[in-house]
Amino acid sequence: MFFLLSFVVGGLFAAGFYLMLRRSMVKLIFGLVLLSHAANLLIFTAGGLVRARPPLIPPGDLVPAKEFADPVPQALILTAIVISFAVIAFAAVLVKRVYRTVGSGDVDELKATDI
């Protein structure tokens, strides 16, 4: 499972970067979406994959059983998902705005502010 997820993470990063390098602004947004998914999945995978062992302390004990699913990476991912949701929503509106002012969805047309 670990290896499978590692390849999925790598694939998501590759696809995300590929989409960002395309000229279409819509693909740029999808690239950003894939990149944030890749980062989240990486945190989840690197945090350790443990099946069916909730981080609960059995009655009477003071520490949880030996191996347990660490809740911290999941909490981090949850926060990161909320943040990336907000940012991507903003980026999508921004792209629409750029399309309306510049009249093109092609990143190469955005040359007015370049050097």
Binding site: M20, M25, L28, L32, L35, S36, A38, A39, L42, I43, A46, G47, G48, L62, D70, V72, P73, L76, T79, A80, I83, A86, V87, F90, A91, L94, V95, R97, V98, T101, V102, V107, L110, A112, T113, D114, I115
Partner: protein, 526 residues
Amino acid sequence: MNNLLVLPIVIPLLTAGLSFISWKSLRLQRILALLGAGALMVAATGLFISVYTDGIQVLQVGNWPAPFGITLIADLLSSIMVVLTALVGLAVAVYSLADIDEQRISFGYFPLLQVLLTGVSGAFLTGDLFNLYVWFEVMLMASFVLLVLGGESPQVEGGIKYVTLNLLSSVSFLVAVGILYAVAHTLNMADLSLKLPRISQTHPTLILSVAGLFIIGFGIKAGIFPLYFWLPASYHTPPAATSALFAGLLTKVGVYALIRIFTLVLPRTTFSYNLLLTLAGLTMIIGVLGAFAQVEIRRILSFHIISQIGYMIMGLGLLASKDPAARLLAIAAAVFYISHHIIVKTNLFLISGTVKALRGTYELKSLGGLAASSPWIAILFLIPALSLAGMPPLSGFWAKLAMIKAGLQAQQYLVVVAALAAGLLTLMSMIKIWDKAFWKPAPEVVPGEGWHSTGALTPRRLLLLLGPITALAALTVAIGLQPQLLFTVAERSATQLLDSSAYTQAVLGAGKEALQAIDLVQGVTP
């Protein structure tokens, strides 16, 4: 425990909330912006005095002991940065009263300004890596909206580049955080600094790649070579007050994070310091050369931000030296440089805004004759411009002198040559602005743009524009005349940064006691 630590975060957040509530009343929003910025200044100064007299201040939020809860911590570097944040916030808030149009204010300019200050203060004060990521995002979200507020065509275009590259840097930072948690099972910076040396012995390549991810992530935010391209493409598009705020604060948050990560969190390796030093030299030279090709004031200034970032990173890179005195001087010089740079750079952008308010353009070819028509503004421009280039006796001279001395002591002659050359080229670039905008006679007909004479500005507006500029210029001169005051503080903060034991003790010492207290309550011997 010191509750003063939450004030620089809570005050702007509260001000932002109150401004959102008073959405309809622009007058009330303006008053709130001034009150909030003033209160932030008071709180930041209070925090700085408390850190300076009593040492590092720590607050464990919600009383959760250190490695488990969120830690807020202010050492000297953090508190200096918070004071500078408050200073820039106050200057920009006053300037915005005259510079920002009604439409932008009615779309929430002032609350966004306060949210941005919240994020910046939070990033400086947090002692937890993931928390740092969250504050970065708070800051970025506010800056995204501020950048495109108004929706002019260049703004949204610059916005796309800014948003995309900053998101990329966030992803890189987040991945680094995720990997660090996977190997160390903690994200508390003090805890990481104790655990990572052992882990880096078993997983050297993993820690090195984390260092690389941090350099990419914070390097994009700081605008170092070759990751800076978003900066000159976007900083000249919003109104002057906004770009002054960005120029003063945002890239420096990236520099602060780099300093924090590479002195405290990650084990010190010569390889990453040498890499940073090389990047620093290239950043200085390429940034200043980029400025030469420009003919618009704010674009020239944007490229100078990049070049100046190189000097700050150079201080960090000089930690590769084996000589402890050189290391101390290098970090002290970097802290001094950041303090001087924030004041000067904010001021230069504010002045460019005043030039625009007077003449309606930033283009050098349409400007001219300002020295004759507004000598006061010409003098106010010269002070930060010469300070930026490093002319004695202004603040920039002492900053550059200390940095070059550190470079010589560390025997990194190549980067010293780069620093000296960049200083000379900066001077030439500043003379170019002086010559084209202030000295040469004004062009007969200004093509395209509407011509405004000085009379177009009401005295009240002129006072609001020039007040912050004069105050910041006076501060530049004051630092230049009494550099040892700031340098003593910088040196003390460098001592704290280089010996992280006080930092870790301040964070974890209290935590250990709390842990023991919990154990005692439960009747378990530790």
